[in-house]
Symmetry: C2
Subunit: 144 residues, 2 copies
DNA sequence: TCTAAATAGATTGCATACAATTTATCTATC
DNA sequence: GATAGATAAATTGTATGCAATCTATTTAGA
């Protein structure tokens, strides 16, 4: 058996598995609110930068229009966002409605609730955060 | 704006994004071979433990039958695996065919090719690996 | 032994992801 | 001003993930 092919010798696998496990933890808080994890991170961006182009949203979240177009359509149908026009008619501007803005207060406790469920101390969390971002940024650079 | 809701203050996000980025890197090697990332990790388990129950495969990979059933069906159609019966008639035993076994040699170089693309030193990679697994194991414990 | 509860795997339904393609629009260049 | 190439977003097609449900089989307890 080729040693380097053992599952336990792959760095990719814990990254893949932990990402799914963390998403599932979020879902235990988000599903009762009727939103998904991807929708959650879309809202986080919109709370920071309301009135953003779909392209910019995709850049922040590393998602393309194939994912965002149907997702935004659903959010629009549910009354959370509106997709307005831009001067450049190719672009669409995503804006939170009042209902969408109200979600910020509803979602505010979630990061604390999640943090209380993760048994990592501050150093460990920071290290995991930093290394993940370093790897992410490298891979995204290569990707361009 | 609620500080704790800023995207940059979320640990979940780099985990989510880096997992997708790493998967995409693998796909650049796997797609030419006609296999997906999830199929790849299924093969890794089968190389270690040929003739495994679907349940056990799912336990190793944190995947359920909703994902594995159609995936194994495709691998069977492509001639990589066979699904045999067990004494317990509820169970199915997954076995590599000759074509499936031959894939081990084909896949063997990939971990080296991937490693050469990741600009992490050994310590960093080990830390990322360890912290990811620690978090994963915690979350999976809670999940049960 | 008979049957209720548990278990394995398949199926269904929904929501991503993302490559590739399409459509509409813009921009640079002549 | 006409047009080729670039760009933004939508659409298409394929493959996950996973909760919930269904079916077949096994097991445990009265």
């Amino acid at each position: 058996m080729q040693e380097q092919l053992r599952l336990q010798n792959q760095l990719c696998f814990p990254l893949y598995a932990v990402s799914k496990a963390v998403t599932r933890l979020y879902l235990s808080y988000l599903t009762p609110l009727g939103i998904t994890y991807t929708q959650y991170v879309v809202f986080l961006v919109l709370f920071e930068q309301d009135g953003i182009r779909v392209k910019e949203l995709g850049k922040r979240l590393f998602l393309d229009s194939g994912t965002l177009s149907p997702l935004l359509e659903k959010l629009e149908k549910q009354g959370y966002v509106e997709k307005g026009k831009s001067l450049d008619k190719r672009e669409r501007i995503v804006t939170l409605t009042a209902k969408g803005k109200a979600l910020e207060a509803t979602l505010a406790p979630i990061p604390f609730q999640i943090a209380s469920r993760l048994q990592l101390n501050e150093d460990e969390a920071k290290t995991l955060y930093t290394l993940s971002y370093r790897l992410l940024n490298q891979l995204e650079e290569d990707h361009e």
